[in-house]
Symmetry: C2
């Protein structure tokens, strides 16, 4: 299954993002409201600047203490971000997430950010596909 098929199934359309100069305090409010574990970070011109996650919040607090809540997200985000495209296969996305140990990947189409795909999304699709293939082969063997 392609990335675009997964994105089209997600209940919320549009991209969950925060701008690089917003604070970590604003981030925690946004993460709670949206019920997500990470947000894409955009720079002034709406370009992809990075990804920031609840894990980054915990690390910033452990390292700098509560003062981090008044600092911009750009200070703690991951700026070297692996991206994918709507036409990419989710098997490939899952392999890259597992190898790189990250849980979210921005989806880019012709330089524009069009969505975010999570490891939960791709794992679900992968298990369902393998189960379907399995059931089809079992049926074939039986008949």
């Amino acid at each position: 299954m392609k990335v675009k098929a997964v994105l089209s199934q997600k209940p919320v359309s549009g991209v969950e993002s925060i701008s690089a100069q917003e604070t970590m305090g604003e981030l925690v409010t946004r993460l709670k409201e949206r019920r997500v574990g990470a947000l894409v970070v955009t720079s002034g011109d709406n370009a992809l600047a990075g990804v920031i996650s609840e894990r980054d919040v915990v690390r910033a607090l452990a390292t700098e203490g509560e003062v981090c809540l008044r600092s911009p997200v750009s200070r703690y985000m991951t700026s070297e971000v692996s991206t994918t495209t709507p036409e990419d296969d989710t098997v490939n996305v899952l392999e890259r997430m597992t190898a790189g140990r990250f849980r979210h990947m921005p989806v880019m189409d012709k330089g524009q950010l069009v969505g975010v795909i999570s490891i939960g999304d791709v794992v679900k699709v992968r298990i369902e596909a393998l189960q379907r293939e399995n059931a089809a082969m079992e049926e074939f063997i039986r008949s």
Copy 2:
């Protein structure tokens, strides 16, 4: 594959836990040091009291602000925790995690906490098992 087989493959043995009266500030340090997303919470007599995750940290900060870092983890933990046993099947664990939307499950053996299993652990096992079954059936069909 059974839960005990997954636990035996994990690099760190022993259970990552924090006691209920420790603070959220202590929790963030522990999460960072251990490189985990959640810890089991134990009460005075080393009994299971709950689970606390990086998501709980974000929610506490968003709701109460930085003062939460000086409050005990017992205030923010999930205390109604689903548990599993070493003899349970990981397919069953994955279904319960997906249905309940949680990522970590304490493993209990005769009332004693013996480990924690994460959704990452069980997903890996499940995908590998389905791929093996698939390959075996493909081989069977070809021959």
